[in-house]
Amino acid sequence: MLRWALLLLLLLLAACSKGAEADLPSIGEARSLAAEWALVNEQASQGHLTRHYVDTMRQSCREQIETAAKSLTQPQSPYGAEIAALLREPDDASPTVLRAHAIRLKQIEDSLESA
Amino acid sequence: MKPDAQIKLVSQLLDLPLVDKDDRWCGVVDDIELEGSAGRQMRIKALLVGPGAYRGRLPAWLFAFVCRVAGDRVAKVPVARIEKIAAVVHLDCAAEKLGLHVTEDRVRPWIPHRGAL
């Protein structure tokens, strides 16, 4: 019984840990959203999408990235700055620019995961 | 199976659905009333149907909650009204004659009687 209680406590503590590792899910989320945003803009520029879809997907991407940014435990970190820079991009930003943000976030993600 | 045969109360009767002579669902066997006494042959006297029959089968707090939500009504289905016991208990008369279907009939006027194909 005591063993199970300790295990549960450890799991809860692990889930609540502060620091960069705790921000990994948010970084990954922002990275994916940047890539999705880039893909939407790329397909939109090729005339493959409807106006409503483009507008709503861009809006959803931005809202979700904002949520991820707000949940960071270290918003002043390099990844926090990168996500803030991503949010400053206009809705119709170039796919190349947006993917560059995604690549940088992926690099940060990988380095944190291997640390 | 006929109701006067030997029967395993829990595995062959308790918690079986009830169906009346018009093939309408009219409750579940929530408990069983027996007649006889210890050391003598026990016979089924009636099936008890309704939330009030959950007493003793649920924890007291849960029974109190169920009664608060659904009432504590119990309908008794005399064993003579059982035609057959199979995957369901078949009754030989309409549900209303046994005090079943009461809530169904009470709720029916709330439902608009139109628009369905």
């Binding site: 809860l12 692990a14 889930a15 990994l24 899910p25 990954g28 989320e29 990275r31 994916s32 959203l33 890539a35 999705e36 880039a38 893909l39 397909q43 090729q46 005339g47 493959h48 999408l49 409807t50 106006r51 409503h52 879809y53 507008d55 709503t56 997907m57 959803s60 991407c61 979700q64 993917r99 995604a102 690549i103 992926k106 995961e113 | 829990v10 308790l14 918690d15 659905p17 009830l18 669902w25 009219c26 409750g27 579940v28 959950y54 089968r57 649920l58 924890p59 849960l62 995957a87 369901v88 809530t103 169904e104 709720v107 709330w110 439902i111 608009p112 009687h113 628009g115 369905a116 194909l117």
Partner: protein
């Protein structure tokens, strides 16, 4: 066996197989692990074929849906626990589907998401009121065949077919870190849960009663659950494969349910996008109807109420009130603004926890010769059934630890 009925049954199963959980997890599985999780979809699909066939057989032979006899098998107390657990998990699933409907309509029309969620509940409720059971099932199932655009898109993008085929072989990718292994495990559990959702058993077995199945329909049942579910599963695998081929190289997660529609837009442009969104709309709507009715079936059957859409709504008044409530309560949950992806994750999690309790009575019933006579489980159904029961029980035990350790598959 009527060939037209059989064809319709298969097509209905195909169109009705995918719901928002499968859409989300198939796309995320492909982008995270390439083709390596295809075998989990295939493996879980065999499980739902086995249990689905059993549900249909019990309905056709014992003329009882599973939940009717669940209370009889488990007793009142454990039956109550099962009822409450399955109602909660299915309620969350309905909320996820309604939220998904609101989102898809938002992508299609630009109208506010919550308004679209409310509007979709009105349409769903109207369809369930007006249409008898057979036409509810056929309408959503057949219109859901628009999802075939994903299968066509997979062919159009020329994926590495060798790798797709190799994905059907049970595997764990080489060289994964501990975190990635845990994430892989989480996805395997989540996919199993999404494919084996308990509401599918309740709905399918009750549907067999609604359609007055008898022993003559056993072949239809067997063909529908094998061919229909297999083809439906291939749609989910198509979504996964396209995500592996298109999204993974671009680091797309994906985080938004609408991103899956890009899989059809990339090869087919606007037409592909619209077909994908409409297919998703109908597939999710069908799932919303199924989950809502499954809950109404469960409650009605547990308490012995009149039930079924083969009756007019006023002929089964408490059942009608039940499905109305099971539409409105999820809408209320969606109106709180909770994220649809969060609802999907919780739906998956709660459903896997309920799976063992849901399928155990089915196994006991389908094995019972006193109900099933010569149609009781033979060695193959028995063996497969108990094997999958052990697997879903193990998955249920692993679900919460994996969810916590991987932050819901995010890390």
């Amino acid at each position: 066996m009527n060939p037209l009925e059989l064809t319709l049954g298969i097509m209905t199963a195909v169109g009705g197989f995918v719901d928002i959980s499968e859409l989300v997890f198939a796309a995320q599985a492909g982008s995270n692990f390439g083709y390596a999780l295809i075998w989990v979809f295939a493996f879980a699909t065999v499980g739902i074929m086995v249990f689905g066939e059993m549900c249909g057989r019990v309905a056709a032979v014992a003329h009882q849906p599973v939940f009717n006899l669940m209370r009889h098998r488990l007793g009142l107390k454990l039956g109550f626990v099962t009822l409450i657990a399955s109602v909660i998990s299915t309620l969350i699933t309905t909320s996820a589907e309604i939220g998904g409907l609101g989102l898809v309509l938002h992508y299609l029309t630009g109208a506010p998401y919550l308004l679209m969620a409310a509007a979709s509940v009105v349409v769903l409720g109207a369809s369930m009121w007006v249409l008898p059971f057979k036409w509810i099932e056929r309408t959503y199932g057949l219109l859901g065949l628009m999802m075939l655009v994903f299968a066509a898109a997979l062919v159009a993008i020329h994926p590495p077919w060798g790798e797709v085929a190799r994905g059907f072989v049970p595997q764990v990718p080489q060289g994964l870190s501990t975190k990635e292994l845990l994430k892989f495990g989480y996805f395997a559990v989540a996919i199993t849960s999404a494919v084996l959702f308990p509401y599918e058993a309740y709905f399918y077995s009750s549907g067999g009663i609604e359609e007055a199945w008898g022993p003559k329909d056993l072949t239809t049942n067997r063909v529908t659950t094998t061919v229909g579910f297999a083809l439906g599963s291939l749609l989910a695998i198509a979504i996964l494969s396209m995500s592996a081929h298109l999204f993974r190289p671009l680091m797309v997660g994906p985080q938004l349910p609408g991103t899956s529609a890009l899989e059809a837009a990339i090869p087919f442009g606007r037409t592909g996008l619209l077909l994908a969104l409409l297919g998703m709309l109908i597939a999710i709507a069908g799932a919303a109807v199924e989950t809502c009715m499954a809950n109404a079936y469960s409650v009605s059957q547990f308490f012995g109420w009149e039930w079924g859409r083969h009756k007019k709504p006023w002929e089964a008044p408490r059942f009608t009130l039940a499905w109305s409530a099971f539409l409105l309560v999820p809408l209320a949950i969606v109106m709180t603004g909770v994220d649809v992806m969060t609802l999907v994750e919780y739906a998956i999690l709660f459903s896997i926890l309920v799976l063992p309790l849901s399928y155990l009575p089915l196994m006991l019933l389908a094995n019972d010769k006193s109900y099933m006579r010569q149609y009781a489980n033979k060695w193959l159904a028995k063996g497969l059934g108990w094997t999958y029961f052990v697997i879903v029980t193990a998955a249920a035990m692993a679900a919460i630890p994996l969810y916590v350790m991987t932050a819901g598959g995010q890390s």
